[in-house]
Symmetry: C2
Subunit: 692 residues, 2 copies
């Protein structure tokens, strides 16, 4: 048994460490011998994992050979590829396939494409070392694999979708290695070579002008891998394409944007996202390396320092050298608006930040489009990060990656029944139905609008709008990050204006992490039996712990998360209800995490304003046994409706009063004035912070 | 906004950092001016926190003055003590007191004692710098405070309890500073100076010969502070006492033992413990420094490296210098038995370890005594740590330190109704009642017995026994850590033998952390309404999610925690039930954390064997998207009852078979043999691991 404080000697640079790691791994694999089993198992199963290990070993062995010329590594790749060449002709559709997009080596076509992208890189590195016989045999393997991708699987190949990016990347890179222009052209322009499909079309369609990928950060990270790797191959084989300059350098922009879509290194988990995905993934090592090689942007070096890894490639070595030379600069995490859609007009994601990306505040206002099949019914949703924690949360996906017991790692039934539903998000839910009544095809055609956005030192805001999520119901969500004198951290302001001629039931959930410490209103508690909130659309998964009828003075809850406290305070409607609840009902297989929710419910309402503020306050210091400001530092909050504008008035315990005005009209030069207790508050433009 | 990778320049040593930190804090306090408010608030309130800040500022200002002779620091301490001297005569019992052990400056006597221990140290450092008038006035303050402790609060002062340690330390240190032998003698020997109370008696009574403190690790940490600090003062003022050699150097031993009672730097949280308590507390900085000064043990330096802090004292400087000189050695975390009770015969805590203390395995078999008022009804309980996580858990205390909204940080009602109850622990619960029927006075007189203990490379075990927790029910718990060929980590074996002439209902709970991935038996689930398990003794807090009737082949559950999987597999009795449950019922104020439990329930049983194994397996690697061995690697487990012994037989998926024998008689030289499927398994002594 060893103790604290022991440290192993560190290799000289991150690249040395990478070579050491890869050498150990490949040597292990070589000792185990070439093992290319007949495909049989689904994700997480034995043959699946073995084939994954194989391509990882091949691509790294190929790099090691390129680096040090040691013939044993070339021989290992050769022997394994020869084994694949023997196996491949025997394969048909994978026995564990579950849909039409099947693979041969793997249950899903996507995995075969990833195999191809990796294996062809390995082959590229060793092909010149082979004798004619071996080379011919392996060429045939790759030609067959490319044909499987581009002919038998042409439906996948010709999609405008990240699976197709892997597929076209594999085929195109095979084309370069085999010197087969036909394969390259198909990859770039689609199977019909008409540019209506293929890699270039994907580049043009799948990213917004701000480098935002329609499926969201989790898939942006993943999709970037084949984009960047294939682009790198295109750039090397056909520099005249100027692929990295295409569309205003969209791929490099998308790489940067992916990094901006993180807090403490983790991707914002909206849509079908697994929460533990961070910048620490192979694709981000590759992405940082290739982007650095193209741009020499020293801010990327600090990302590699966070990753503590670099790509095993010439570009990765350059990153490690840059760090060793002290060239690194902090990555400029900051507030930004990321427009969605190929033309940038399908809504947007607004990121409002204060402080750094590890401990500071970040508000994500998600006013972007549905994002296809992995999208959630979460229009105008938001998340909030502070103090290294996800405070106001997005559930992400109901999925346990590659865990055999959890359907082999596939999306679980609860991904549909809970994770995608509107009530699982910080959004307005009307009449207990999800946005677009849960119809993804309709949702995909009706993105929200980003009405306004502005970032400043003590006041940043984003206004999103959607009038199509529910028939006859318009929603405009004004969100702001507001610094207030005497408060240590900026507060989050949320004012949602709902318009409807007909009366409805409105539910406004708040999904948060932490342990409740104080509850404003008197509770009516279900302590001996917890009813389920509803029957469908996610409501069937909600246990009701307690309800209450708050009034303005007591409409708040406070909770503790890590060493800080948070108070959510809202302006309750007359007759509205607060519901304290927890997820987990109707979940017999324990597929859901048990998480708390607060729901503000108003029945029979038409036009309405939901107004709330989130305050980070105080400090819990267990070591020093000191706790300060564990209760809210705000005395009151109210909303005043004026002529064409709504004004929130906040007063702190110290007597500081601040008004936040949101106009109904977004014109930048329009003047507004609202009477606040006899004081006329004036501003120009869609939103303003006014000290009273 | 800044990014990752930026680092501030670091001071030369930990001590320099400490001086910088203290200087900043004290300078801040000096800028704010002397603020000695009239006592009013309970814990967490304004006056409470201000007086705490004051003594911290004074003690650090005193050290800064000693270090650099800057008169402004002496002046600050002087001015503050003069303000206290003005205030003190005006004080009576604190207005927010809640019991007889009140303070004057604080609601609790304990806080006043801590104030005294700190303030007298500050005074010691500056007293020589004062003019006669100020010195006289402040002498009177301390004399009054010491009198308050030793006369008005004599009941606390004369206890054998950590509150009394603070009290005697404060009075004794005051005696040394004022040159008052009477105060010193009272402190050492009790108010009557007869040695039946006082500091020396506390030293003899409160620690076992192995340096274990009866109230458990959380209070051991806290109690050590006045022990070590006062001992240091005794050693300096009266070296002839040889205080650090007393009772085989019990204080230094206790300091070492406290460190051993941690995993990943956090104290094992049994009894009334708050879980975030780690080695990173002021008392442990002081303890490490004083112990290092006495022993020069280089292993303590690695603890200081973990803490990244040192005491602001000459001893703290020596620690920092030792680290800077590269003298640090790893602290030898290892398996050990810590006997409980002044003579070492009141049971014990057995710690079985494998690997290091940050990522390896640690099994804690808690066969120690009740530990007075902060003890829990948790006889023969256990906890398990692995991979940096608390896997099989102890709830600790239901308390939010200094959080105003949670009863000002006091123990919450749920500490009695849940945290102390037997069902809240990994112990046998008979007929839904807690051990000793929840009577702490009886519990305190009836400790368990540590029957046997042995630590080895691939087999370590502990056997505990108690026959008095329930009338007519004997319990002997055999726990072992067993390495098995082909399994990556050792498994935990738990065989509890219960004897009873009468039939009972037995509940054997398993409290764990993680997300269930696989459940062996077919469930009967309460998905639409969750019943509460019982009415009293903690059962009223348990929601029942599901029940099942397992048979031997399917009696297991698997869960994921962080990046590893755990399977608990047990030998079910015929007709027994599995209950999957969660805490949180009858908790209207949300005072409890919501945590999962699995309960094995047998009705109408008399003599019985509860046998289970806990297996750590597999790996979840989200970055590499690779999951291996997420399901159990064990094929079967059964228990065979022989003549005077029980044998567990484990077979892995790879076909490795191991038997673990536990004899009913603990004699070291007694031979045992049991027939396992026709194969005679033999061993000598209380327990053995036999490869089949
Ligand atoms: Zn979502
Ligand atoms: Zn306990």
């Amino acid at each position: 048994a060893t103790g604290h404080g022991s440290e192993a000697a560190k290799p000289a640079t991150l690249f040395d460490a990478e070579v050491a790691r890869a050498t150990a791994f490949v040597d292990d694999m070589m000792r185990a011998g070439v093992n290319v089993p007949m495909p049989k198992d689904p994700g997480g199963g034995y043959t699946h994992e073995q084939h994954k290990k194989n391509y990882k070993a091949m691509v790294e062995a190929g790099e090691l050979y390129r680096l040090n010329g040691d013939a044993k590594y070339a021989g290992f790749v050769r022997d394994m590829l020869l084994a694949y060449a023997d196996l491949y002709p025997k394969l048909g559709p994978h026995p564990a396939r579950s849909n039409q997009q099947y693979g041969r080596l793997f249950w899903q076509n996507l995995n075969d494409a990833v195999w191809l992208v990796n294996s062809i890189q390995a082959y590229d590195n060793i092909r010149a070392s082979l004798n004619d016989k071996d080379r011919k045999k392996i060429d045939i393997l790759f030609r067959s694999a490319a044909e499987f991708m581009s002919v038998e699987s042409v439906k996948t190949f010709d999609r405008i979708h990240n699976h197709a990016t892997w597929s076209t990347a594999g085929v195109g890179m095979t084309g370069y290695v085999l010197g087969d222009k036909n394969l390259v052209d198909k990859a770039l322009l689609g199977s019909k070579k008409d540019g209506k499909a293929g890699f270039l079309r994907q580049m043009d369609q799948l990213f917004s002008p701000d480098g935002y990928y329609a499926e969201g950060p989790y898939y942006q990270r993943y999709a970037l891998w084949p984009f960047i790797v294939f682009a790198d191959a295109i750039d090397k084989n056909d520099p005249s394409q100027k692929i990295f300059e295409r569309r205003d350098a969209i791929l490099l922009k998308a790489m940067n944007t992916a990094i901006h879509l993180t807090y403490k290194g983790r991707f914002f988990p909206f849509n079908d996202a697994i929460k533990d995905k961070s910048l620490n993934t192979e694709e981000m090592y590759q992405g940082v390396a290739i982007a650095y090689a193209k741009t020499k942007n020293p801010q990327l070096l600090s990302i590699a320092q966070y990753q503590r890894r670099v790509a095993l490639s010439a570009a990765g070595r350059a990153v490690a050298d840059g760090i060793a030379q002290g060239l690194s600069q902090p990555f400029p995490f900051q507030s930004m608006l990321l427009r969605d859609g190929p033309s940038g007009d399908d809504g947007a994601v607004a990121i409002l930040r204060h402080g750094d990306s590890d401990t500071g505040q970040a508000l994500v206002a998600k006013n972007s489009s549905q994002g296809m099949g992995h999208g959630h019914f979460d229009k105008l949703s938001w998340q909030f990060y502070d103090n290294g924690q996800e405070v106001v949360t997005d559930y992400g996906a109901a999925r346990f990656l590659n865990v055999v017991a959890k359907d082999g790692g596939k999306y679980l039934p609860e991904n549909e029944s809970w994770a995608k539903q509107s009530i699982a998000h910080n959004v307005l839910v009307v009449d207990e139905k999800s946005h677009f009544d849960g119809d993804v095809k309709i949702a995909d055609t009706l993105p929200p609008k980003q009405i306004a956005y502005q970032a400043g030192d003590d006041f940043s805001y984003s206004i999103g709008q959607i009038n199509t999520a529910y028939e006859g119901v318009g929603m405009t969500r004004n969100m702001a990050m507001v610094s207030i004198e005497g408060l240590k951290h900026p507060i989050i302001v949320d004012v949602m204006r709902v318009t409807s001629a007909a009366p409805h039931q409105y539910d406004m959930p708040l999904h948060y992490q932490g342990h409740i410490t104080r509850i404003g209103p008197q509770l009516s508690s279900n302590v001996e039996t917890r009813p389920v909130l509803g029957k469908d659309n996610g409501y069937q998964h909600i246990w009701v712990d307690a309800t209450a009828q708050p009034v303005s003075q007591n409409a708040f809850i406070t909770w503790q998360l890590d060493n800080r406290f948070y108070t959510w305070r809202w302006a309750p409607f007359a007759g509205s209800e607060m519901i304290l609840a927890e997820i987990g009902a109707n979940d017999p297989m324990f597929n859901l995490r048990r998480e708390p929710i607060m729901i503000q419910r108003a029945k029979g309402a038409g036009n309405a304003i939901f107004a709330g503020i989130l305050e980070s306050h105080g400090k819990y210091d267990g070591a020093a046994e000191q706790t300060i400001a564990s209760d809210s530092q705000i005395k009151s909050m109210k909303i005043v409706n004026g002529n064409g504008a709504d004004v929130m008035v906040i007063e702190t315990l110290n007597g500081v009063r601040v008004a936040i005005g949101f106009a109904h009209n977004e014109q930048a030069d329009m003047e507004h004035s609202v009477d606040i207790d006899g004081q006329l508050v004036k501003w120009t433009g869609p939103a303003a912070r006014i000290k009273l």
